[in-house]
Amino acid sequence: MEEVGASCAWPGLIPLERELRARLAWFVRLRWAAAAAIAVGAWGTARAAGGQFAPLPMYMVAAAVALYNVAFLAITGRLAAYGPGSRAYRGVIYAQIGLDWIALICLVHYAGGVDSPVPLAFTFHLIIGAILLSRIACYVQAAIAAAMLAVLVGVEHAGWWPRVQVPVLVGSTPCSGAGCLFRWAVLAGFFVVVAYLITSITVAVRRDEEALFASERALQQSYREMETLYEMGRVVNATLDLDQVLGRIAENGAQLLGVKACSIRLLEQDGQHLRIGAAYGLSERYLAKGPVAVDRSAIDAEALRGQTVQIRDASRDPRFQYGEEARLEGIRAVLCVPLQAKGRTIGSMRVYAAEEREFSRSEANLLRNLANLGAAAIENARAYAELRALSEERAWFARVTHHQLRAPLAATKSMLEALRYAGPLTAKQAEFVERCGRRIDELLRMIRDLLDLAAAQRPLVGRAAEPVRLAECLRTALATAAEQAERKPVALEVSLPDTAAVLADGDDVERVFSNLLDNAIKYTPAGGRVRFVVEEGRRELIAVVEDTGIGIEPADQDRVFKGFYRTEAAKATGEVGTGLGLSIVARLVERWGGRVELHSEPGRGSRFTVRLPAAAA
């Protein structure tokens, strides 16, 4: 039987049994009352009989009962160490019943024989016996009780133990020999009926309890398994670190199945070898025993075909490739299941027991479920690695594209610049060169913004948010903005606490604020004012870029964040722009869990509020 609770003195008992065993102590307690009742009964009878009844023998019986009860009290306290099925335990019960019955027989005798109501007290023991012992023991007790009474009747009638006359209890005319025999027969029949009724009830109750207990235990086991699988599922979904996930699954596999060790093997690219993905409970020496070749390890080959494989003794089973090593490692029984993900077998999972044993069907199912989780974890981690590689490839492609697109344009622009050093140009030629230069600048900006937008839309694979101190990160951007503002001229006010920091990426943060500051200065007429104010909140940082510029019409306020859109007022300023800047800003802020708000009044100015998660200073 398995353990059901740590608080239970005798683990493995069904609840009814547990309660009944507790009654053993109660049985002892009850005997104090019985001893007292005998004494009081004797005293009362003596009073009622008015000198016709001598209570002394009964007092002595009561004293004897109290005396041996003291002994049982001491013994019951020590009995907890023994199991309920033990001989000591049963012996104590039989001894109690035996002594009780001797006392009872004495009582029956001193109370006037089978005529008195005292023999009915035997039923009390029959009930307790049925509860504490077996069905047969109960019938045997009924028979012994009847036999003891028969012996008493015989001994009394033979005159060996002269009958005691107690008119108060048995009437003035005690029964004759035949009458006593009849009374005895009635009592014996009564005992058998009581034994039958009681045992029928206790057996049925016990059977139901056992069934209930078995299902409760199965339920508890299932619950434990579900809990582990759920926990595993959570771990699998929460981390993409393959080694960590597989390690946990191997550990749980061994613990849940209550075995020595567990390993997860992954199929190599060649499809011929397996390598250890994770192991729990196996020594380094065993793990380093050599490569597992699928064609030499029949159990792995079977598992890879989707089978569940059992081995009772690995050291003697030819299907096991490293039998001798297994013996030295202390491995006997092995259970091996396939690791399958998306219908493909990608490896195997094994548990190793230190003893020769058979794994049950539910254990095999449990291991298969764990293996499925492991397979899902492997697939997730592999998919993540692929995604990461793809993301890195895209980033590399963007970088190369940027360079390849920019280089010829930059060279062209530079050559145009050099034209005037190569010889004198006419005014018209100079104007055309100037216009070509402007168009090239436009194209260069467009390339930069398009690539930035593409970068802002790429998922953040492998990039974690890091604390970015704004004062440091925005130094160059603020210097550029100050130069730009001075040229215009526009008054630029900056209020940036030295400690202000966000959780994001430095490049992204710089791009966000250089875009916003560039816009603000660009679209604010000379003599206007641009303010950059940063406030540190507890959870988020609020950065405001405010200007007294041309503003944005309410109808355009959403569209400016969509991309490729410039307001009519912006175009009218003659400033160049791609219409992508704010779209890039919004995407970069949102990818780090922030948001951008815009308040603007046409002709009066705009205020962009950026909220980003604050980093502890």
Binding site: H403, R406, D507
Partner: protein, 125 residues
């Protein structure tokens, strides 16, 4: 010095950029040596020690220009080194200019006025 002119060694694998530098710098009184690779740049450096160097950051592959700068320092170069960058705004983040001992960084497309004024300032001595 070459014929009384200060010598500028320009290293870039883009011949158009080299041509541009040659035209602009020569028109402004400098003698210009050009090299199309880091190796050639090193050779020219040894042949004629220049008064200043302009080195492209991205030659053939990323950061080969920085390799040249490091090599120049190891060879005992004292002349100011300017870098040309075509990866734009990210230059300052990817390369620690102070660690390389750079005199300045020029963004492509090049602005002749910025180029000449910075060069003049560094070569005044």
């Amino acid at each position: 010095m070459e014929d009384g002119k200060q010598v500028i060694l320009c290293v870039d694998d883009d011949p158009d950029i080299l041509e541009y530098l040659k035209v602009v710098l020569e028109a402004n009184g400098y003698a210009v040596q050009t090299a199309a690779s880091a190796e050639e740049g090193m050779r020219r450096f040894r042949e004629t020690p220049p008064d200043a160097l302009i080195v492209d950051l991205m030659m053939e592959e990323i950061d080969s220009g920085t390799g040249l700068v490091t090599e120049l320092r190891a060879a005992g170069n004292q002349a100011p080194v300017f870098m040309l960058s075509s990866i734009g705004d990210n230059l300052q983040r990817t390369i620690d200019t102070s660690a390389l001992g750079l005199a300045g960084v020029f963004q492509k497309p090049l602005d002749s006025e910025v180029l000449l004024s910075l060069l003049k300032a560094k070569l005044r001595r």
